[in-house]
Amino acid sequence: MRIAVFATCLVGTVAPRAATATVRLLERLGHTVDMPADQACCGQMHVNTGYGPEAMGVIRNHVRTFAPVLDGRWDAIVAPSGSCVGSIRHQQADVARRNGDDRLARTAEQVSARTYELSELLVDVLGVTDVGAWFPHTVTYHPTCHSLRVLRVGDRPRQLLEAVEGIELRELGEAEQCCGFGGTFSLKNSETSAAMVTDKADEVVATGAEVVAAGDWSCLLNISGALDRRRTGVRAAHLAEILASTRDEPWQGADL
């Protein structure tokens, strides 16, 4: 399959490792991967902060960049983020329509129908759960709110993780509780956000796992930031990094 990777703005700037892992994983599985140069952001931050009209340019750029999927340039688009795919699927067209651009809305809908979060792409489209990964660490998995409740990815990430060789999964307490990131919430309501991430970090530490994993770098940024501040030694890994890790190219835990 020819697959376009949408890195997302956050991963694209501060955590390329989630995108590079996605690329290496998909190539290892025999797919042709592209990373369209004009990509930037899905618009979620603006939309969720109440700047829907201001997000129109962002959405327009995203839809324009990935519209070639409709002409067969790629078979699918993947993003290593449940919340960005959630925004693409459930917000872009709606915002476009409410701001009077029906054409953009229609194209956005068509593009979003070909856009998948990583675990969805692997399990539903590519039909694999065992991706041949090797990850000899204890891991606890935070399922992330938007993967769970917006995309409803269910146990797909779990199926993928359970098939990884060498991994030991540790159950996270109150796993489905939000980590307190919430985009600009972490700044606008920083004290509440801090209280929430403190609880989440406590739960992570309680598992005794070496690594905390999630399918969204934004949540990981929040959780690992709190863990690092407390010098817990727990490291963060995106789901893609775990799945990309092999005996030949083991996980480094840092950007390449």
């Binding site: 890195a7 703005c9 991963v11 694209g12 700037t13 501060v14 955590a15 390329p16 490792r17 590079t20 990373m35 140069a37 004009d38 990509q39 930037a40 931050m45 603006h46 969720n48 902060t49 109440g50 700047y51 009209p53 201001e54 340019g57 962002v58 327009r60 750029n61 960049t65 709110c145 938007h146 409740r149 489905e176 509780q177 939000c178 307190g180 919430g182 985009g183 919430f185 972490s186 700044l187 606008k188 309501n189 920083s190 004290e191 509440t192 956000s193 801090a194 209280a195 929430m196 991430v197 403190t198 609880d199 690992s224 930031g225 709190a226 690092d228 501040r229 840092a254 950007d255 390449l256």
Partner: protein
């Protein structure tokens, strides 16, 4: 109010009584600063919300048609809203035909005036009250007090809140912010007839309230209630409760006044079969609440022989005008969204500065007050305007809502309304930075440059964690390290890989 030397006195929460029950205190972040610092409160809330939500999860899982009930509940509510004028006039006719009197009240002042008038006419100086959000919202007790009428809350938690001089902090358990020791303290000092040596055992406290209220029920001439629902076709009003204080109020006095938001009307008796399943399971996490009372107008020889129904607008029609936001009016006040909300669990109800706290409050209060409308509250720093921002959009509320109110979508929509009031206004610093960000995020080239800049900083910091950032980054680094930055940008990595 008396204070006793050597005894800790329980201070009212919030410390000053609000003038408007829908809008008091500071903006959400500032109010939360206070409540987050209260360790006792946070411990209470944590245990309490977790207890209820586990119970709710168990009893909703018991029904294999739970999702179908939710769908039906949502559809019945949406359909009722679409037919609201017809349903309200039909309700008026049915109630009138059965001997009741229907009043219409455009706002809080008008509702209070109507109720005060009825009580005065009846010559009563004391009324007993069933827990009711609508009467909280309009500040009825205070209005009655001004008219020299003593309104006695009879729900245990409401009585605690009333005696403490508090505002409720939860829709279902309004005194959730008080622990047993504080409640003992409140009863001992404020109840007037508390038994000697009252302990803080919940059973003893409940029995003290029973004894305290019994005499008042028996002598009450007038009762005031809210309504969980009213059936247009029959004129039937329903109140759902646990303690029996509702039955006392709805049965013993000779006159009953019910204040009901216009959104509580349901078309047919058959609709009860949906809501009497959705409400108790979502609310207290029980298969059925101990008591549900239904009455239709006046029944000769049984219960109050005079019945008044006050239909309340007070901003509801304003909410109705918002096509996306109007779903907040579908709310059946079960409070499931509060119990699953991680923000509520940490801040408690008082941070919301309204009698409607939690996720539903964050979309209901701003709409009742017309957020972003001409002259209405607006902006992320306003007590009401900040409410839609008091959420991470985690979606737990949407999943828990028995009538499927898409609270996250409504929050996002109201954020937009709050930030875009009509007419010209000077852009805030956030407005400006978001516009700049939008330019960068609309261009692959600009974002690649941003990536390169970040990688440059990454090389300069050499894989070290950044522990402090200047404002607004300091809001982040308060409890977190900033991420270790990459030393090579994604674009650079991709370019080299493509050369291979």
């Amino acid at each position: 109010m008396s204070t006793f030397l050597g005894m800790p006195t329980v201070r009212p929460q919030p410390s000053r009584p609000p003038r408007d029950p829908l809008r008091w205190g500071a903006s959400f972040p500032h109010a939360a600063h206070e409540t987050l610092a209260d360790g006792q409160l946070r411990a209470n809330l944590r245990t309490a919300t977790r207890t209820i939500r586990d119970k709710r999860r168990r009893v909703t899982a018991e029904l294999d048609d739970w999702e179908q009930l939710r769908d039906a509940g949502a559809a019945i509510k949406a359909s009722a809203m679409a037919r609201l004028p017809d349903l309200l006039t039909q309700l008026e006719e049915s109630v009138t035909a059965r001997g009741g009197v229907v009043h219409w009240a455009r706002d809080a002042a008008e509702a209070n005036e109507v109720v005060t008038g009825i009580v005065r006419e009846a010559g009563a100086r004391e009324v007993v009250k069933v827990k009711s959000m609508a009467t909280q919202e309009i500040g009825l007790n205070e209005a009655l007090a001004e008219a020299g009428i003593d309104a006695i809350e009879t729900d245990l938690a409401e009585r605690i809140v009333q005696l403490a001089g508090d505002q409720p902090s939860h829709i279902l358990v309004p005194a959730i912010h008080r622990n047993r020791e504080e409640i003992r303290e409140i009863f001992t000092h404020r109840m007037g007839d508390a038994p000697e040596g009252l302990s803080s055992e919940p059973r003893e406290l409940a029995m003290a309230a029973r004894a305290h209220l019994r005499a008042r029920f028996l002598r009450a001439e007038v009762a005031i209630s809210g309504a969980n629902m009213a059936i247009a076709e029959t004129g039937t009003v329903a109140v759902v409760e646990s303690e029996g204080n509702g039955r006392m109020c709805l049965t013993l006095p000779r006159l009953l006044v019910t204040v009901m938001g216009i959104e509580k009307v349901l078309p047919t008796a058959r609709d009860l079969e949906v809501f009497l399943q959705l409400l108790p399971r979502s609310s207290t996490g029980e298969r059925m609440n101990p008591y549900t009372s239904m009455w239709t107008g006046v029944t000769p020889g049984d219960g109050p022989q005079e019945f008044h129904l006050v239909l309340l607008d007070n901003g509801r029609t304003r909410a109705l005008a918002d096509e996306l936001g109007r779903q907040a009016l579908h709310c059946i006040r079960c409070s499931a969204c509060l119990n699953v909300c991680p923000v509520y669990e940490h801040t408690g109800g008082h941070a919301y500065g309204s009698v409607y706290p939690g996720p539903i409050g964050a979309i209901l209060t701003p709409q009742l007050l017309g957020v972003g409308e001409p002259g209405g509250p607006a902006g992320a720093h306003d007590p009401t305007g900040s409410l839609p921002f008091a959420s991470t959009l985690c979606g737990a509320c949407f999943d828990a809502c028995p009538v499927k109110i898409d609270i996250p979508a409504a929050l996002v929509h109201l954020r937009e309304r709050s930030l875009h009031p009509p007419g010209p206004h000077a852009p805030s610093a956030t407005d400006v930075s978001m516009r700049v960000a939008a330019r960068v995020l609309s261009s692959g080239r600009a974002l690649r440059w941003a990536g390169r800049a970040v990688a440059l900083v990454g090389r300069l910091t050499g894989g070290r964690a950044i522990r402090w950032l200047p404002w607004p980054g300091s809001l982040w680094t308060r409890v977190r390290d900033a991420p270790v930055l990459p030393v090579r940008s994604l674009a650079a990595w991709w370019a080299r890989r493509s050369l291979r």
